[in-house]
């Protein structure tokens, strides 16, 4: 259990850092921004799912991941508006993005497939 968490932490950290670095390299920013929604957590989660639980488990994860992707689309669109609003500090905009994603994700988890 703990060794798996360490593997997840290191692999997740490395992949997120790699995508963030790729985003820094690229201009224009609207194209570089695609890395903000790169499958960083998904690659580690599904990769470990394949090796430990098997393809049926991964297919189930991917099925509900589509709902998470919809939540991400909504929260990224909200982030555009939040970051443009001068009176909202950048940190609050980032926290707001997470809050909107969580609200959307919990709402979509309850939706039957």
């Amino acid at each position: 259990m703990w060794s798996e968490l360490v593997v997840r932490f290191v692999a997740g950290g490395l992949i997120v850092s790699a995508f963030a670095a790729a985003s820094e390299l690229m201009k224009p920013k609207s194209l570089a921004g695609i890395f903000g929604a790169a499958p960083s957590v998904a690659l580690v989660t599904l990769g470990l799912g394949f090796s430990q639980q098997g393809p049926a488990y991964v297919a189930a994860e991917a099925g509900t991941m589509m709902r998470g992707a919809v939540a991400l689309l909504v929260s990224a669109a909200a982030a555009v508006w939040l970051v443009r609003t001068e009176r909202v500090p950048a940190v609050a905009a980032a926290l707001g993005t997470w809050a909107i994603w969580l609200a959307m994700a919990f709402a979509l988890v309850g939706v039957p497939p």
Binding site: G13, A20, A21, V41, V83, A90
Partner: protein
Amino acid sequence: MSLDVWNPTTGSREVVRLSPSELGKVKPWEYLLRFFFGGLVTAAVGLVAHRFGPAVAGVFAAFPSILPAALTLVTRHDGRASAAEDSRGACFGAVGLLAFALVVHAAAGRWPAWLTLATSFVAWAVVSVGTWALAVRLRRHHRASGRSGRRPARART
């Protein structure tokens, strides 16, 4: 040093640019912050999977682990307008992520794991860049038609 790349929407070689020098502008603690958050979120998704199973863990596989940190750092380095552009790009990336999940869902069990993940990653890249390119083209078309469709000023007689 910068490398100009061909942009499929315009055919020009100057719109999409790779600038390795930009990496030097990022402070070491900013890389560490991203590593820490990325690792923390990925480990947390593992705990969610153990506690609640694959259906809930799958939703959390699309958790925004890069966007919020990028939002604050881009605002700090390049200003709010750039951060808004960055977030707009994440919308295209999210559409790509939907394609990623769709491909994994369809291919898991039929194809080997490595091929499933590699193909779904390619699907993410193609759909993300494709929707971005489409949006750029639509925006240009909208601007051009706005200019050409404008009524000429009536001459004073």
